[in-house]
């Protein structure tokens, strides 16, 4: 197990480096530099500025300096557009928000998704099963950018129950809609995956044995069926996390929650390279780390995985 964890970390590090390098070279090859402006700066001054920001050095050295600053100081450099705000400031202000509703979206998707899937499998080919399957199918075509307007239309414009945006320090009514909008499509996928894997497990021999020796059915479900049935769900958590990270861009800009997504999209629309790069690297790192954790969790749950 220890070796497996080590090996998994050993794979994650080159992935991270590739991620950082790709985004850095993309930025490097983009037309125009941070100091390009309509009024040309005198050549000598330009050279001084470039020397100050290490822009005169070869690319690989710039990349090295960039990575070094991130690793040692968590410094992604200053924003190209916002005065006296660094990329780190933007991360610090937005991250708690995104994390909060992201967490609730995750909880929403996993609990209800798994619940629906298990019920559907236990009551295979009944009305409950069909309901769950319909939810799963419909949810699949309701990604966050479709759910968000629909939810706002129903709960804000028609019913007037909830606020249509804002954050207000994370009060519960401001979290509900973003969390549901973000979580729905993942709920659907989780329900579908749980259902099919639970059905498969329930048809397996050892469950039949457990039933034959007269164990109570609830006990069989809880003790013997649930854990192996959860394996595909666990392996789906990685992609789901990536989806939620990218989905937060939509949620933040639609609900004006002020999370990191809105900085990312503003950075994108303003061509603020430092900001988008910083966020790409940060979110990418999060993704890679999370995927690694999921893999380790998977290996821990599933004894069949060889390390």
């Amino acid at each position: 197990m220890f070796n497996f964890v080590l090996r998994r970390i050993a794979v994650a590090i080159p992935t991270l480096l590739i991620l950082v390098s790709i985004s850095f070279f993309l930025m490097f090859s983009a037309p125009g530099g941070p100091f390009t402006s309509e009024r040309p700066i005198p050549q000598a001054v330009m050279e001084n500025i470039e020397a100050k920001y290490n822009l005169d050095k070869p690319v690989y050295q710039q990349l090295g300096i960039y990575i070094w600053n991130i690793v040692t100081d968590f410094d992604f450099g200053p924003s190209f557009r916002y005065q006296d705000r660094t990329v780190l400031d933007l991360i610090e202000s937005g991250f708690p928000v995104t994390l909060t509703y992201g967490f609730w979206a995750f909880v929403f998707a996993v609990t209800i998704g798994v619940g629906l899937g298990v019920i559907a499998a236990l009551k295979h080919n009944t009305a409950a099963d069909y309901t769950a399957v319909s939810v799963a199918i419909v949810g699949q075509v309701l990604p966050n950018f479709v759910m968000a307007p629909i939810l706002v239309l129903i709960f804000v414009l028609w019913l007037g129950w909830l606020p249509g945006g804002g954050w207000q320090g994370g009060q519960i009514e401001y979290i509900i809609l973003p969390a549901i909008a973000l979580g729905t499509s993942f709920l659907a996928s989780i329900a579908r995956i749980t259902r099919s894997s639970m059905l498969e497990v329930l048809n397996s021999n050892y469950i039949r044995t457990a039933r034959a020796k007269g164990l109570p059915f609830r006990y069989i479900v809880w003790r013997h069926a649930l854990k192996p049935a959860m394996l595909p769900v666990v392996s789906y958590l990685g992609p789901a996390f990536v989806g939620m990270i990218t989905g937060s861009v939509i949620i933040d800009s639609y609900f004006t929650t002020g999370g990191i997504g809105v900085h990312f999209i503003n950075g994108a629309l303003n061509r603020d390279y430092a900001v988008i790069m910083g966020f790409t690297i940060l979110l990418g790192t999060l993704t890679i780390v999370f995927n690694m954790l999921v893999d380790i969790l998977y290996a821990w749950i599933d004894p069949k995985i060889r390390y």
């Binding site: 080159p14 991620l19 950018f145 968000a148 307007p149 990536v242 790409t280 890679i288």
Partner: protein, 309 residues
């Protein structure tokens, strides 16, 4: 056949030559299974209708998608609702542009993105996966490790990064979507190839001295087609989703061109003024298309892969 009643042997021998055996190919079988699947057939019909809508819509529309109806500009909420008389079958948007024509145009772009993305995935993913699976060993592990690494990168962010750095263009979206769509396909194809390569006909090909690449192209790939078709069908909605996501953020297609994502974004922005048709028409087409593709994909999977469930 051999246990058949002992009829006239001569007659039998005579007929043997000119009787063509009436058999059903596996594809025929699959078609039959598919056509009995009601959900899949309904999905297919809806899909064809939407393709038809995108194809002949421009000839039906009374307005061009970028033309502004000056009389309705700015008062879409009071006068721009869907009506047959003034030719705005789906109403107009905020700028007074005909929503029917725009929905048609959006459908064309979205369907195109979906199809081309899936096509790229099929070509690259199949060849890549089949090569990795067939050759195995070190080549396989290097190729699949690369796929693993590429898959763990949040590609949507990269796509946005690309669009920002090199300017928004539909071509870049095609390239970006195509570049990531083949990964999953490569994995699935590799898995299938691993089981195909131990089949007797591959052994026969190897024994008769066919070169490895030719084996992959001539004997492995054709036998993968079932799986590839199923996943290609399921990939199309994924690609449409990706493109709509980007367009919803305003980073995709550029005005006056549009796509479902961009239209949904416009509609979502203006719905509080009561112009619900601006949201509902694009949303309806979007959802109907995705659902139809999912149903068809599921139906194809059931038809082509009957051992599953």
């Amino acid at each position: 056949m051999l246990t058949h009643k002992k009829t006239n042997v001569e007659e039998l021998a005579e007929n043997l030559g000119n009787q063509t055996p009436v058999g059903r190919s596996l594809w025929r079988d699959a078609m039959h299974r598919f056509s009995r699947n009601k959900a899949a057939m309904a999905g297919l019909v809806v899909m064809l209708l939407i393709v038809l809508f995108a194809a002949i819509g421009p000839f039906v529309a009374a307005w061009h998608y970028s033309d502004i109806d000056w009389g309705l500009m700015g008062n879409a909420a009071s006068a721009g609702q869907p009506s047959i008389e003034n030719g705005h079958y789906f109403g107009v948007d905020d700028l007074g542009r005909d929503l029917f024509a725009r929905t048609v145009q959006g459908s064309q772009i979205s369907l195109l993105v979906g199809t081309i993305g899936a096509l790229i995935a099929v070509v690259i993913g199949t060849l890549y996966g089949a090569t990795a699976g067939y050759f195995g060993g070190r080549i396989d592990s290097i190729m699949m490790r690369t796929v693993d690494i590429l898959m763990s990168i949040p590609y949507m962010l990269f796509l946005i990064l690309l669009l920002v750095m090199f300017g928004r263009s539909i071509l870049l979206i095609f390239i970006g979507i195509g570049a990531i769509s083949w990964l999953e396909m490569a994995r699935i194809v590799r898995g299938q190839t691993l089981s195909i390569k131990n089949k007797e006909y591959i052994e026969a090909a190897v024994a008769s001295g066919v070169r490895p690449f030719k084996i992959v192209l001539r004997h492995v790939v054709p036998n993968l087609l079932g799986v590839v078709i199923v996943y290609a069908t399921l990939l199309v909605p994924q690609m449409i989703l990706t493109e709509s996501f980007i367009s919803f953020l305003g980073l995709g297609v550029q005005e006056p061109q549009t796509s479902w994502g961009a239209l949904i974004n416009d509609g979502a922005g203006t719905m509080r003024y009561g112009t619900l048709w601006q949201l509902m028409f694009p949303l309806g087409f979007f959802i109907a298309t995705l659902l139809s593709f999912f149903f068809v994909g599921d139906g194809l999977r059931d038809a082509l892969d009957p051992k599953d469930r």
